[in-house]
């Protein structure tokens, strides 16, 4: 059986729908991981001990265990305590929090690297420490780590294939289902790969746009 790409148009809609799911899940979890990363960073650096310690545990779970396990835990495990999430929501939360922890590490370092004069200038004007963090320090820290956060988001896109294990028909699972019908693994895995590549390019384009926009304000 040779290669025959002419079969693709017939199943293109299925794969396209999968690609749309992948994009949706990636964007939603990227946003969650970004703001989650900021919140986690602030907790890790400034929250009182009593909040910081349990938070450390959560952080460890998300960094120290496989994402696959985390998705199972959120999707199947939480049902037992009465939290029954739709699969794609569980996927977004899992991916979002997992990468929020990684983003938080970047943001923490960046917060500590913001020149101390910035906090002082803000305090001198009469801002409280919290206000100064929110308006002055964190916006600068976040700008400084846009490139590495972008890298994390590309990793997130690739890891989004894992949500197929909880039954979300994203790109990889859609391709697999089509392959199940057609027995054409090469063609459809290549097609899926092409879609990942295109989404990847879009994300890099967005990242470059953001970087160019903030270049002047750094």
């Amino acid at each position: 059986m040779g290669l025959d790409f002419s079969i693709i148009p017939k199943y293109l809609d299925v794969v396209l729908l999968g690609a749309a799911w992948t994009m949706g899940i990636t964007v939603a979890s990227a946003i969650l991981s970004f703001f989650g990363g900021i919140v986690f960073a602030v907790i890790a650096l400034y929250a009182p001990w009593i909040i910081r310690q349990p938070f450390r545990l959560i952080e460890w779970v998300f960094m120290g265990t496989p994402l696959l396990l985390q998705l199972f835990l959120i999707y199947f495990g939480l049902v037992q305590i009465g939290i029954d999430l739709p699969a794609f929501v569980a996927g977004i939360i899992g991916l979002g929090l997992h990468f929020a922890v990684y983003n938080s590490e970047l943001i923490q370092t960046a917060i500590l690297a913001v020149d101390k004069g910035q906090m002082e200038a803000a305090r001198t004007l009469g801002l409280s420490r919290g206000e100064a963090l929110r308006k002055v320090v964190i916006p600068q820290a976040v700008r400084a780590v846009i490139p590495p956060i972008g890298n994390n988001m590309i990793a997130l896109l690739k890891d989004s294939a894992l949500v197929s294990v909880i039954g979300v028909s994203e790109l990889t699972l859609s391709a697999q289902r089509v392959i199940g019908k057609t027995y054409r693994p090469f063609e459809f895995y290549i097609l899926a790969a092409a879609f990942y590549y295109v989404i990847n390019l879009c994300m890099e384009w967005v990242q470059r746009k953001i970087e160019r926009r903030i270049a002047i304000s750094r």
């Binding site: 004069g117 002082e120 801002l127 600068q140």
Partner: protein, 256 residues
């Protein structure tokens, strides 16, 4: 101790960083509208004294009063924070390295605190920004980011930012030390204009000519003490202490 105070009054200020005593029993009073210069070699405690006035470097002993209110009074933590934030709104500070907020335009640098702390509307804030930036000759660059400005322009925006809070007192910590020589004058001019408006100012500087031309009084600090003080004419022409003479010799000749 009397409650009657001068506009700014520093009583027996003492400051140590660990074992290092940086301010040793400094007392100083400044009347409303007075302009006081502080000179002295590097490490003598000038910045620390200035920073103590708005509690950036809290004193380890002594008192600071501003317009009849003690800045460093002892209060429970939360109340103290609230008190100190209110005090700081009344004291403008200008730093050697400007410390402009790089992610904000000149306008936003000027309006951020008034909007946040005084609840100014966007409209009122814009008017304030225009007024303050015009005053320092930076109206044309109102929507520029700090990265697009020269050092002198940055410092003028930083002065406008401090003035926008309508402070009672302005503190300048070597405002022109980080500037290229050709940019010093534009900042000095802004400070001179403030002097003409009778803004109360404490100015740490290494420019003796400037101190002589704007200050009502000059203090010479060395190793955490005020060695000598007086009107600039007397201080610069007829210093009485040997340490002052030595410092002035180095600095006035060094500058020429």
């Amino acid at each position: 101790m009397t409650e009657q105070t001068d506009f700014v009054e520093i009583r027996h200020a003492q400051k140590s960083f660990g074992a290092l005593e940086v301010l040793k029993d400094i007392s100083l009073s400044v009347t409303r509208g007075q302009i006081v210069g502080i000179i002295g070699s590097s490490g003598s405690g000038k910045s620390t004294l200035l920073r103590a006035i708005n509690d950036l470097d809290p004193l380890t002993g002594g008192e600071i009063w501003l317009d009849g209110v003690q800045v460093n009074k002892s209060l429970p933590h939360r109340q103290y924070e609230k008190h100190i934030n209110e005090m700081r709104q009344q004291v403008g500070m200008v730093f050697q390295h400007f410390n402009l907020f790089p992610h904000m335009t000149a306008r936003e640098n000027v309006t951020m605190a008034p909007k946040m702390l005084k609840g100014l509307s966007q409209e009122a804030a814009d008017k304030l920004a225009e007024e303050q930036l015009d005053k320092v000759g930076m109206l044309e660059r109102i929507d520029y980011y700090p990265s697009q400005l020269s050092g002198g322009q940055k410092q003028r925006v930083a002065i406008a930012r401090a003035l926008a809070m309508k402070p009672k007192l302005m503190l300048f910590d070597e405002a022109t030390s980080a500037l290229d020589p050709e940019l010093v004058e534009e900042v000095n001019l802004v400070m001179k204009r403030l002097a003409e408006e009778h803004m109360t100012m404490i100015i740490v500087t290494h420019e003796m000519d400037f101190a002589a031309s704007v200050c009502d009084r000059v203090l010479f600090m060395d190793k955490g003490v005020v060695v000598e003080e007086g009107p600039p004419a007397t201080m610069f022409k007829h210093p009485t202490k040997e340490r002052t003479r030595e410092f002035l010799r180095k600095h006035i000749e060094g500058a020429k």
